[in-house]
């Protein structure tokens, strides 16, 4: 992940005076101390407003269904459903928030799964606060920055997939949006949805279970 963050040089007074200009952030992390730390860190920034800080994916989607969210900062490993499940859910909302996965492990496997779950960025929990804030600003501005998938790992992951899944995976890696993928494959959105669900399960290596 590159850290080419532009230092915030804007006039912060604008954000203090105008709540609408602030980035509305949702925090989802199952560890209380991390959740509190994130909330405080982000709340310190004049251009952020922490809408809520919750512990589970289900609570996260609950909040996002009722309040507009610009960026969701989500831990990958949550108690129940994981962060990528939440990412997929959030991206199906009418107002799609940007999704930043905040995870202890940021290896290539997570990057691959994040592509399928349409997350926008992965930030390691080993990064300091300022880097996280910059990343939140970048995804809020519509940038997408997932770590590059090492070619050998990509090969080994592709072997887990069938031909159609490989095609979908390849298109998503190339940056195509799901509606374009569905159109290319000539399938309905609903069919693609279930394929994506299965694809994500395989990439994450989760046991077969209804996860939609």
């Amino acid at each position: 992940m590159t850290s080419t963050a532009a230092p915030p040089t804007a006039d912060w007074a604008k954000f203090r005076d105008d709540p609408l200009a602030r980035t509305r952030v949702l925090v989802v992390d199952d560890h209380a101390a991390v959740r509190a730390g994130l909330r405080e860190l982000l709340a310190d920034e004049a251009d952020f407003e922490v809408v809520a800080a919750v512990a589970t994916a289900e609570d996260g989607i609950e909040v996002a269904e009722h309040e507009p969210i610009d960026v969701a900062v989500i831990d990958y490993q949550l108690g129940g459903r994981n962060g990528l499940w939440l990412s997929r859910k959030l991206k199906r909302l009418p107002e799609r928030p940007a999704v930043l996965i905040y995870s202890a492990y940021t290896d290539g496997v997570l990057a691959a799964a994040a592509v399928v779950a349409e997350a926008d960025a992965i930030v390691s929990k080993g990064k300091v606060g300022s880097e996280l804030c910059h990343a939140v600003r970048r995804v809020a501005a519509g940038r997408r920055e997932l770590p590059r998938l090492p070619p050998r790992l990509a090969d080994s992951l592709r072997r887990r997939l069938d031909h159609e899944e490989q095609a979908i995976f390849g298109m998503l890696l190339a940056g195509l949006e799901p509606p374009e993928v569905a159109m290319t494959l000539g399938v309905s959105q609903a069919v693609l949805e279930s394929r994506l669900c299965e694809l994500l399960r395989r990439l994450e290596g989760l046991p077969a279970a209804p996860s939609a």
């Binding site: 560890h31 101390a33 991390v34 509190a36 730390g37 994130l38 405080e40 860190l41 310190d44 202890a104 492990y105 290896d107 290539g108 496997v109 929990k125 080993g126 300091v128 606060g129 300022s130 996280l132 090492p150 050998r152 790992l153 090969d155 080994s156 992951l157 072997r159 887990r160 994450e204 290596g205 989760l206």
Partner: protein
């Protein structure tokens, strides 16, 4: 791999494997059975001949020494003695070879048995029971090793989770707090605050690394092929050892125990390469041929030192291999420099 002995064919039976000479206090302090019985028999025969002559022809004893009969008697005695020794050797020989075999039995040549173990003689019976005992001991050993390794894996998993869920998360929270503090402190102490923040960051990285080494999450989540690919990536990324994986795409699904053994052997072998071989690249191959799963790790480094002793790492690999009925060989590559670790695990029936 300086801690490893030169054990090119560690598993196959070696003719000169009597590397465990009897120690000083166990040196032979008796006359071998063959010599004793042969000696007694010779004395008995001579005595019998003597008594016979004395009893049957006492008057001829003085002339006997000079007659041709003496030669005949001596030849007969010699024949009896030689026949005696030859026959006895057939009886005692198996006992001696059993002793020699028992001396070289060790963990590196499991599955080897004494030849000629048939219930056709006492020695055969002894060999038979010896073989049965070996089978029993190996089974018990495999079981106890399995128990120990399973307990070890469970403990590693627990520690890894604890490290990740507790220590790692607490440190993350500390790091977030420090980031806030650092942003607010006066310029005079900012440098100090930043260095503390760096220190916390490093410990967080260490905790993560240790947790991953203890228990590869990828193995549980993604299966062996991907876990090995991730392992190779990690060595390439962190340890300046470029590990190229060749993992066959058509691997059959394996029991968890086999996957874990293969993964641990690969991990240990690559760690050895990184530590001892002075090689900057290595290859990891996983494939299956017929009914065998083959893992091969080769490097281009110094090779094994001659006359080293097997270290705990190698012993661990051997024991893990034995657990799934696999053969492990470690030796210098036949072509070119460097050394090679090879694990061959039977597919299907793991035992």
């Amino acid at each position: 791999m300086s801690s490893l002995a030169n054990r090119g064919t560690a598993i196959t039976p070696r003719p000169g494997a009597g590397n465990r000479r009897p120690s000083a206090e166990h040196r032979r302090r008796y006359l071998p059975l063959l010599h004793r019985i042969a000696g007694i028999n010779v004395l008995l025969v001579i005595a019998a001949v003597g008594v016979t002559i004395v009893v049957l022809a006492p008057g001829r004893l003085s002339t006997l020494a000079r007659s041709e009969e003496a030669a005949v008697v001596l030849a007969a005695v010699a024949f009896v003695v030689v026949a005696n020794v030859l026959l006895l050797r057939r009886v005692v020989g198996p006992v001696q070879s059993l002793t020699a075999f028992a001396r070289q039995v060790d963990y590196s040549n499991l599955g080897q048995r004494v030849a000629g173990a048939e219930p056709t003689s006492e020695a055969g019976e002894l060999a038979l029971t010896f073989n049965e005992m070996l089978t029993r001991l190996e089974a018990e050993r495999r079981e106890s090793t399995g128990r120990v390794l399973r307990a070890q894996e469970a403990e590693r998993l627990r520690i890894a989770q604890e490290l990740h869920d507790q220590v790692g998360q607490e440190l993350t929270a500390v790091l977030l707090g420090l980031s806030r503090v650092t942003a607010r402190v006066p310029e005079s102490v900012r440098e100090d605050a930043l260095s503390v923040q760096d220190a916390v960051r490093h410990s967080l990285e260490d905790v993560r690394r240790i947790a991953v080494e203890l228990r590869p999450e990828a193995l549980d989540d993604l299966g062996l092929a991907s876990a090995l690919a991730v392992l190779c990536e990690r060595f390439s990324g962190q340890l300046d050892l470029d590990v190229v994986p060749y993992i066959a795409p058509d691997l059959p699904s394996l029991p968890t125990e086999v996957e874990l053994v293969v993964y641990r052997v690969a991990q240990e072998a690559l760690t050895n390469v990184a530590r001892h071989s002075a090689s900057s690249r290595a290859e990891l191959t996983l494939m299956h041929t017929g009914n065998l799963l083959v893992l091969r790790i080769g490097d281009y480094g110094l090779g094994l030192p001659v006359g080293g002793v097997p270290g705990t790492g190698m012993r661990g690999m051997q024991e893990r291999a034995a657990l799934i009925g696999a053969r492990l060989t470690i030796g210098n590559r036949r072509e070119g420099p460097g050394c090679e670790v090879r694990l061959e695990a039977p597919l299907g029936d793991p035992r």
